[in-house]
């Protein structure tokens, strides 16, 4: 294999691709940087799409099938664009024992969507997590990256209503 293989061009002028490229460069374009790079893509763009997977796969010289396999294997990666706001309900054991199931039902009813979906107006996404390690303040919900502990149905409804003013 030639030592200086040609790198594919950036998919667009979007500056965020340079951040993605930066991660790959830091790892010397090694193949094992695939997951790290996909993390950067998701952090920058919010989700992974096919052009992104193709770009990363070509840059790191891994088969597209492997990139797709990795992207769909790990729960943390999503191939759907998230809504403007994200509500993530922890379903860990401590949260489950303290009523996370009821919170999830509450949120599904309030947003009119199931877990893993985004509202039609793209305002809010509803996600669940296996355990976010905030068991001491169960049940816990993460609203736009900020963890809230000891959540009640009332807290949850208020927060969600604030995202989608009637």
């Amino acid at each position: 294999m030639p030592l200086t293989s040609k790198k594919p061009p950036l998919p667009s002028d979007d500056k965020r691709w340079r951040i993605v490229n930066g991660t790959m460069r830091r790892h010397g374009y090694a193949r094992d940087a695939l997951i790290e790079t996909l993390h950067t893509v998701q952090e920058s763009f919010g989700f992974l799409d096919k052009p992104a997977l193709r770009f990363v796969a070509d840059s790191l010289r891994v088969p597209l099938s492997q990139a797709y396999g990795v992207a769909t294997f790990y729960h943390f990666f999503t191939m759907k664009p998230p809504g403007e706001h994200v509500c993530l309900i922890c379903m860990g054991t401590a949260c489950y024992i303290k009523g996370a199931g009821a919170l999830l039902n509450e949120a599904q009813a309030a947003l009119g969507i199931q877990a893993g979906e985004t509202t039609a107006d793209a305002k809010a996404s509803l996600m669940t997590a296996r355990c976010i390690g905030s068991c001491s303040v169960a049940p816990a919900v993460v609203f736009d990256g900020e963890t809230m502990g000891n959540v009640t149905g009332k807290n949850l409804r208020e927060k969600l209503a604030g995202w989608r003013p009637a």
Partner: protein
């Protein structure tokens, strides 16, 4: 770095701290942060600035009693304040040296604190995790310098063997034995991996250690690398723990700056550096061969063992994999000796164990107790028992690979063997207390749903078996199951546990088996009477009936 230089940094740091007579330590680990301790810290800082008080406000790691957060410790008086709100800042700063604020006081004399024995958590809540100097002032990195300058690799392995330390990830493999195997195996490059993919739901020990005292883990890894002859290290942290990732990343940079990582560490021939790898939210990656696949940038599928990672691990090289808590014990063992460590605990399980005590118990939080402490002491003395109006039903340990322990076995002491005999496992340290409002059939179904969706799909017993068992358990909770379904469930438990490829499948039936063993009558009620005594399952006409 020499002992003298280390001592100098420690002295300077201590002198610096003594310049301000008072200190307010605010917990900024995940638990308290989610109760907005950052706002409390900011408010205290502003108040100190406004009043001109000679007091330093520091962010520290977890103080343990997370259910009463945000916690603030006032030094040197040693007072601990609970449930502090930003508005309490004025009162706290006013009473720095005088009478403490009674309304917020949280006694340190209570069994929750008194019953513990801190080794892994000794600095937790006492130092600023983002300042390497504070770790050094708390005797940090002395063990590494001692190991590198005064011990050879073999002596360290001997010391760790002598300590009797066993893998804290849950399986309990003797750490010294593992290190010895990696040390003896030849390889051009060897690796050390820290497994921080704390996947068990209901467990947050590793998260807390990484957030509260990251250098302890880093030091343990560096000592391990020297002992087994490794030059590269990885720490595989869950993506769900962004704060732990951030703090450990900062710790690596700080350690490089002071020469604890890099080449010719402490003027010896020892070279070692490491990096953080972020997981992708797959439970199976806690299994060591799957974790290695993930670091290599692939899907986290396990492979058959042997060969064990100690012989052929990361990129087929000899690799040492230990859990966060295992590494966190190492600096203390090297500093104080294997004999000291072996004097704590039981005959076969030495030292202490960190547990995350959660669920229906008064004192929720992080605890560290000597092995051999009884479950009753943990739940009733340290945990303060089940809140008023409810009755204890079961203690769940070991996450989806563990089981539920009923009341009659609570006097059993905690060690690897006794928990296994009960049909549960030590696991990584999650302890979830369940009261009479929990339905054990539903709990079993909950864990089976977890294993089903976390199964990587590589081997059929696990992929299909967990799905079939989930289906059977669902029928029971919905009131459509027959006696034949129960027989089938038991057959499947046996088949899945004996034929699955990795630990995930092999242990997936454990929650079902242990609830069947101790709470079989609940299964029978669901099947024959269509009744759920806890009122959780909607399995028939008797919905909502409580025992």
């Amino acid at each position: 770095m020499t002992f003298e230089e280390l001592e100098q940094i420690a002295t300077e740091t201590r002198e610096n701290r003594e310049k301000s007579p008072c200190e307010l330590n605010v917990c900024v680990a995940a638990g308290c942060l989610s109760l907005h301790s950052d706002a409390v810290k900011k408010s205290l800082e502003e108040e100190v600035k406004r009043t001109g008080a000679t007091c330093r406000v520091r962010g520290t790691g977890c103080m343990g009693l997370c259910s009463l957060g945000p916690l603030v410790a006032s030094e040197p008086s040693g007072q601990l304040y609970k449930s502090v709100a930003p508005a309490d800042a004025t009162e706290i700063v006013e009473n720095l040296e005088g009478v403490p604020v009674p309304r917020l006081l949280c006694s340190r004399e209570q069994p929750f604190f008194q019953r513990q024995n801190l080794i892994v958590l000794e600095n937790s809540g006492r130092i600023d995790p983002e300042k390497i100097e504070e770790y050094i002032a708390a005797d940090g990195y002395r063990a590494l310098v001692h190991a590198l300058t005064e011990m050879n690799a073999n002596e360290i392995v001997q010391e760790v063997s002598k300590s009797g330390l066993r893998g804290r990830g849950g399986a309990g493999y003797p750490t010294g034995l593992k290190w010895g195997t990696v040390a003896k195996t030849a390889g051009t490059t060897k690796y050390v991996i820290c497994n921080a993919d704390e996947g068990d739901p209901g467990a947050f020990m590793d998260r807390s250690v990484l957030e509260s005292d990251p250098h302890r883990v880093l030091e343990g890894m560096a000592i391990a690398a020297y002992a087994v002859g490794a030059t590269r290290g990885y720490i595989y942290v869950r993506a769900e723990y962004p704060l732990a990732v951030k703090r450990f990343g900062a710790a690596i940079r700080e350690a490089r700056r002071l020469g604890f990582l890099g080449s010719q560490i402490c003027n010896t021939k020892f070279n070692f550096d490491m990096e953080v790898r972020i997981g992708g939210g797959a439970f199976v990656c806690g299994e060591e061969t799957a974790l290695i696949a993930s670091i290599e940038g692939r899907r986290g599928s396990p492979r058959p063992r042997p060969p064990y990672p100690a012989q052929a691990g990361l990129w087929d090289m000899p690799t040492l994999i230990n859990n966060v808590e295992t590494f966190a014990n190492i600096p203390s063992i090297v500093r104080r000796g294997g004999d000291w460590y072996a004097s704590i605990g039981t005959r076969k399980s030495k030292g202490t164990k960190v547990f995350a005590l959660t669920g229906k118990v008064r004192n929720v939080g992080l605890i560290e107790v000597p092995m051999g402490t009884t479950l009753r002491q943990i739940i009733y003395e340290i945990g303060g028992g089940v809140p008023e109006g409810h009755k204890f039903k079961a203690l769940q340990t070991g996450g989806p690979s563990g089981g539920c322990i009923p009341e009659q076995f609570l006097d059993l002491s905690v060690d690897y063997e006794s928990l296994r005999e009960l049909g549960s496992i030590m696991g990584s340290g999650g302890m979830i207390v369940m009261d009479d409002s929990a339905c054990m059939v539903n709990v079993a179904r909950y864990f089976m749903e977890f294993c089903m969706s976390e199964s990587c799909g590589k081997c059929i017993p696990c992929r299909s078996g967990t799905a079939q068992m989930f289906e059977l358990l669902t029928r029971m909770t919905e009131g459509t199951a027959t006696a034949r379904d129960l027989e089938l469930l038991e057959e499947l438990c046996d088949m899945v546990s004996s034929t699955s490829l990795c630990g995930l499948g092999q242990s997936a039936p454990n929650p079902v088996l242990s609830t069947l063993r101790y709470f079989r009558d609940e299964y029978i009620e669901h099947i024959n009477d269509k009744r759920c005594r806890a009122g959780v399952c909607e399995c028939g006409s008797a919905v909502g009936v409580t025992a």
